[in-house]
């Protein structure tokens, strides 16, 4: 609207429009309610201001009115609830084939890694029109990943992965903020999201210095740490074969079943005995403190790649999981 006084944030993702629609609906609704209540107060205040010889009329109340103005608002509220929940549901369910970005937050910096291996700090390049899913964790305190132009925000916690996703619709440069107070330079923990046309993005991707894809880095860590000696690609290993397990349910020793998601893989590396796979012994050493957050994301990316659909660049292994 004005150059130095914008009154509405940029709308640059598929989800942003949905949020704005509900927001505008609520603005209109609130505006109407305010107008109704305030004009009633003003009218009453003027019409019934104190005059000599005129006494107030005592009215006890009206159950019918009370029920009306309880039930009608409740009905409206439930509509808002359903609408808001619907948007939230979409915000929280990333499309299956979204490309992944691993995010590690630390005081006071965002470290972002593309699956292809590009690493960025406080800056994220994404193409228009692609579903992008962030898998995020923090090295220290709680942060929050916030892109106003996309209307998304998700706290980033130490010790676990949280996710968020978006599909950018408009090329441009947008703010990335940390929205959860995280210490001295909280307000300096900002960056930018650079949304590019796909062609430009490809150019950027090939131009940058890549140190190998996440999964291939993960594989070399997998070798270095000796994981491969137990987690063999056949059924003879002392640990379960990891091929094809990701995203599938896993039977545990104690009879429970968990889905092998990012958090489960993460936990199994850091604290292996917490959820032991059925048929195996809790003999795996603890890697808490031995691998950095970045190495951990690479390992998770590697384990994931073992379950990926056969595409170029990822290794195909036989799935042994029923």
């Amino acid at each position: 609207m004005f150059d130095n006084l914008p009154l509405w944030p940029a709308r640059a993702s598929t989800g942003a429009g949905n949020v704005d629609a509900l927001y505008i609906f609520l603005l209109l609704l609130s505006g109407f309610m305010c107008l109704a209540i305030f004009s009633m107060i003003v009218v009453f205040a003027l019409r019934y201001r104190r005059q000599h010889g005129h006494e107030a009329e005592q009215i006890e109340g009206s159950t019918a009115l009370e029920i009306t103005w309880s039930v009608v608002p409740l009905g409206i509220f439930l509509v808002i609830f359903a609408w808001g929940a619907f948007i939230f549901f979409q915000e929280r369910t990333p499309p299956r084939d979204a490309s992944e970005i691993y995010v590690v937050a630390k005081q006071w910096m965002w470290k972002l890694e593309h699956v292809e291996g590009q690493r960025e700090i406080n800056e994220l390049h994404v193409p228009v029109g692609r579903d992008v899913k962030m898998i995020m964790t923090s090295q220290d305190v709680i942060h929050s990943f916030y892109i106003p132009a996309f209307r998304i925000k998700q706290d980033v916690l130490p010790g676990r992965y949280t996710t968020a996703w978006f599909r950018a619709t408009k090329p441009g440069v947008y703010h990335l903020f940390c929205a959860e107070y995280c210490g001295s330079q909280h307000s300096g923990m900002i960056g930018q999201i650079v949304v590019m046309e796909p062609a430009q993005y490809e150019a950027w991707l090939s131009g940058g210095s890549s140190s190998g894809s996440l999964a291939s880095n993960g594989e070399s860590i997998f070798q270095q740490l000796g994981c491969v000696t137990c987690h063999r690609s056949d059924t003879q290993g002392r640990g379960p074969n990891l091929a094809g397990i990701f995203g599938k349910p896993v039977q545990l020793e104690d009879g429970l079943t968990v889905v092998a998601d990012e958090n489960y893989v993460r936990e199994s590396i850091l604290s292996p005995s917490a959820k032991v796979v059925k048929g195996f012994k809790p003999i795996m050493p603890v890697f808490q403190g031995l691998v950095s957050e970045e190495q951990l994301t690479e390992l998770v990316a590697y384990v994931k790649s073992l379950s990926a659909a056969p595409t170029a660049g990822t290794k195909v292994r036989e799935s042994k999981v029923q």
Partner: protein, 543 residues
Amino acid sequence: MATAVITPERENYLNQEYGIKSWLLTVDHKRIALLYLVSITFFFFIGGFFALLIRLELLTPAGDLVQADTYNKLFTMHGQVMIFFFLIPSIPAVLGNFLVPLMIGAKDLAFPRLNLLSWYLYIIAGALMLHCICTGGVDTGWTFYTPFSTAFSNTKVVEAGVAIFIAGFSSILTGLNFVVTIHRMRAPGMTWDRLPLFIWAHYATSVIQLLGTPVLAITLLLVVFERVFHLGIFDPTRGGDPLLFQHLFWFYSHPAVYIMILPAMAVESEVIACFTRKRIFGYKFVAMSSIAIAVFGFLVWAHHMFVAGISLYSALIFSALSYLVAVPSAIKVFNWTATMYKGSITFTTPMLYAFGFIGLFTMGGLTGLFLAALGIDVHVTDTYFVIAHFHYIMVGGAVMGYLGGLHFWWPKISGRMYPEWLGKFAALIVFLGFNLTFFPQFILGYMGMPRRYWQYPPEFQVLNVLSTAGSTILAVGYVLPMVYFLWSMRYGKPATENPWNAAGLEWKTSSPPPTFNFDQPPVVDFEAYDYEHIPEVEEVPVG
């Protein structure tokens, strides 16, 4: 045996005894209310000073007035001082303390010594907080989020935590005293359906204080233990869960919002009834809505955590429950508005504050509907939208209620009238200053400016400048009443027993009341807000 000779200065709670000892060792609820009044005013101005510094810092996008660390301490201590040392005790401990026994026709609260103890606990907590502020302060945000507060902050977290822990016990004791007093000390004839709505709302508030505050206490205690002994309960690197802290913290801190707003609603019911000269429309519904707020208020805490990493389904449940708690608040607003219908309305200072309260609380409440909607909350939580929303409730609602109540009962408390035209002027300034300060913050929030930012992108500057300008006006509006209240204690026109010609037992004793409140133990044979049977006086109370 009321055979006392009528003298110009009859004996009352203020002049019965003199000297510092008669105040510091008093067990009279009215004197303790005044002790609270002085102490919370002190903390209000400290918290307000922090707020002004925050606003001045935000005048420019760059962080140039204070260091980042100083700024972080400023907003932390602004929050802690304002919430735990001003808002929570404000109306209950000052007006509630003064009025609960008077309104139900009791000589005092049930446990007068406990009442004094709770003031001393408040003072000890306040002294500790002041010491903390003066020797370095604390920078965790008033929310003490772990693991930042337990493992990363290197400021005085333990001291601030202990101070708030102690202040919590002061609040618990006040609540306990009120509940017992309301149950056991009512005058003959003062049945539950004759209780003023002020009492109903304070009853609901007290229940929250009793059930919520202990959870805050244990949470802060665990934070202190965690910080000192590194237990790991909230520390993810030791197997703990930082979200457990947030659940425990908000289990208290969400209902705490109702500890702050319910008493303000209590005040407005009295003021609106008096200056429309009507019984409150839908008395029973207004009374029950207070109880409903207290009950539902305990079921919505996780709506502060929609993006914190809780599961999708718990977010859905807490969002739905949050809409339930909005209903009783809406009921109150509609009933107050309906009360004005066919009333006989006078525009006194307290009534102006009541108009302001309804307007600002309505806006605060409506923006609460935005925040409870999951899809929108994701975008606006932890931004200035939230800041604006809760300031509309707590400053626009609770502080307006507090100031309105203070004006309304000032003649009873001090025995003097305040200058009415100045009162109206100040009320206007507060209203305008408030809106100028906080309305731009709604826009800032939707634009995406995160809260607790020391520096910000330049496109947010114009709105921030407006907000800062408003805050200076607001400051004037807050200093004015303090000045003329002090002035009126000496020079104000002596107040009659019932200067507003109001209903209610507190107006049936002298101003200021005698130490034991009533010369004769009152017997109640009339309903609450019995304006039908109070003849209108010829003279309009105030010019």
